[in-house]
């Protein structure tokens, strides 16, 4: 149900993760990795048999990720204080954890909950190389028209080494998005007096244009009557493909590009 503001922040965060594997926890309940790891050991030894290795329960014990007590502990950052009585009084429970162990276990459970929220920011796509590399190569040189601008032995040589499969797929689909932006939209403004300005587009609306000239200067112009504005997206060919790709094309192309080591 999230709004666009959240979507943008989320997308940016996910793109960051392509190259940076660690990101802040969401929403507010942070986790100390060392405590989480110690808690994971306690959980594996004492709890997993009934509550499952993935904390989602078995026939013997309920799902702890959906436990109201665990969720309250997580949000209030109680470090197991309210869980402690349950761990000694619930049927089949007689654990005498000290405060440090309780806090470690609490941090592991918090991390387990956090990992399910928006799939957890550490989650990655899988099976990205299940496509047909030969079909991907044929698409590259045929229907996709990729070879009109790119070369497997030229600008794309070694591209499979430079990017993870997830980043590679995103890069050819949305090259002008987020951290991948490397080439600005080009803009030319012709004013009524005939004077023409060209450069990188900085900002545009229905009334003004700001551009960055090759000289290094930023120019801001009013879109007055008689002026014309022409923009050229250097990645337009990629955008045009979005209406044409099949998902098989995307999977095959990803698999092929990954072979370009």
């Amino acid at each position: 149900m999230k709004s666009v503001l959240w979507q943008s922040a989320q997308a940016t965060c996910l793109l960051l993760l392509v190259s940076v594997p660690v990101c802040a926890q969401f929403p507010h309940s942070s986790v100390d990795p060392a405590m989480r790891d110690r808690g994971a050991t306690i959980y594996a030894n004492q709890c997993a048999r009934c509550h499952g290795e993935d904390v989602r329960g078995t026939e013997k014990g309920p799902d702890l990720i959906r436990s109201v007590a665990v969720l309250h502990d997580r949000r209030q950052m109680l470090y197991g204080k309210e869980l402690a009585p349950l761990l000694t009084t619930l049927p089949g429970h007689n654990y005498k954890f000290d405060d440090k162990q309780l806090a470690d276990l609490s941090q592991f459970l918090t991390a387990s909950v956090n990992a399910t929220l928006r799939s957890g920011y550490n989650a990655q796509p899988t099976h990205l190389l299940d496509g047909d590399a030969k079909a991907g190569e044929a698409y590259f040189n045929g229907a996709g028209g990729c070879n009109k601008c790119h070369s497997a032995t030229g600008d794309l040589a070694g591209v499979g080494k430079r990017y993870t499969p997830a980043a590679l797929q995103q890069k050819f689909l949305f090259p002008n998005y987020g951290l991948f932006v490397k080439k600005k939209t080009q803009v030319t403004v012709k004013m009524p007096n005939g004077k023409t300005y060209s450069g990188d587009l900085v900002r545009i609306d229905d009334f003004t244009v700001t551009l960055h000239e090759a000289s290094g200067e930023n120019i801001s112009l009013n879109r007055v009557t008689g002026s014309t504005v022409t923009t050229v997206d250097p990645f337009q060919a990629h955008a045009d493909l979005l209406d044409k790709y099949t998902d098989a094309d995307i999977h095959n192309l990803t698999t092929y590009l990954d072979t370009l080591k």
Binding site: K2, P27, A166, L173, L242
Partner: protein, 526 residues
Amino acid sequence: MKLLTASLLCLSLSPCAIYAQQKQSTDTASLAKLTDSWPTYNGDYSGRRFSPLTKVNTTTVKQLSQAWSYRVEVTTGGGRRISATPIEVNGVLYFTVPSHVWAVDARTGRKIWQFDWVSKGGDTIGNRGAAVSGDTVYFETEDCNLVALDIHTGKEKWHSSIGNPDLFYSGTVAPVVVKNHVMVGVSGDDFDIPGYIEAHDTETGALQWRWYTHPNPGDPEAKTWPNDEAMLHGGGMTWVAGTYDPELNLYYFGTGNAQPVINGLARPGANLYTATICALNPDTGKLIWYFQPNPHDTHDWDAVQTPVLIDGVVDGKPRKLLAQASRNGWYFLIDRTNGKALTSTPFAKQNWALGVDKNGSPIPNPAKMAQPNGALVAPNQAGAANWYPPSFSPATGLFYVPAYDAYSVYYIYDNNKRPEGWAGNDRGGWMSASLRAMDYKTGKVRWDHKWPSPGGRSGILTTAGNLLFTGDTSTNLMAFNATTGKVLWHAGLGNLITNGPITYELDGLQYIVAAAGDTLYAFVLN
């Protein structure tokens, strides 16, 4: 002398005295049709956001200039952003950001009071606004309380819990008051929790009824889920204000996405009543009819977008209609007496539906649900529309919507047989943003103003002056000729327009008010 001094002192210390001389009713009958004020989130109950005011019109709009501005100075989890629609009653504006409420003089922008709720935390992304009834202001807090405030002083009268924030419920929606019911919804889809809508007593805050957005086990609609457990963890949040028809006594609202959100393999079926338009009896909470714009939602698209009530003529007969431009890229026109769809048609780029079923609901293409190695889907998660309010002008017969053509790739991350939470997500994106005007009967686009850059999140206001006000994707508040789409006026503000503009008239002056980031701006004619 003493008496005079006491009177003057009273006047100077009591801001309410200035406003007490005016008595504008906020009862159910007076909220049915908008006049010169803006007393609910959508202006009136209909959701049309159409004002009959005409002083500002296609001829005079060029004379609009800024009257005042008011900047909020609190930062919440949603940042310094006013995404609430202000409401205007008796010369005072009431608006919110998460856990804070203001009363501001609608003529001058001067603060009258501010209420700060001490929140115990919640997933804060914004607050859509307040409701007013009689001498009480109502709003939801991020940690799930409905709070009632004295309209004159801003002092709390009572508060009532509406959800457990431990379970990831949060409060963001603007309440809607119908008779003696304060209707509230809940937000929060990070976990597999059921959505619901509640009615609270306007005077005491007592819970009157709660209606969950899932069928009762054993109901015929329960067969749209694989089992009761999946259904009872199936989501369907209610995070956008509904609309109301006093004649039919029906309250209309849309529900949010199903959960687990992206991986829907463990919940095959249409998953009622998620992503559904519902009509309830507000006195009993009983469901009267439903229509599902987005069966088996696996893209976080919801169907919460405002159900707009239109009285029109179809096939030569007067009809009571309901229109929604849904986040999934489809426009629906429904008979609001019974929920039967008359029109189902895309209004933006979409590639996920195979067609429509006999009820007019789109049929999802399984290939365009998330895949472990990715599925390219239009629209993206932000949707072809979102919470930004649309508008309908009975003068032009056009339905106006901020429309986005967009692609992203949906991935399944968690292929566990029992996925929980989101279990996947979308990544990346390409987007083209437009302001789109459609024939309300057919959904056909009459005019389309493509913004020169993507982004933006502004709602829409239309008026009998044949104007349409909205924010662009940059920082401009703009006025269009509502019939032709011609740009007539703009004002560059300090930020993106972050709510739906409103209009009201005081002392013969028509005001236009919009929020941009942390600031409200008011405009009047020179």
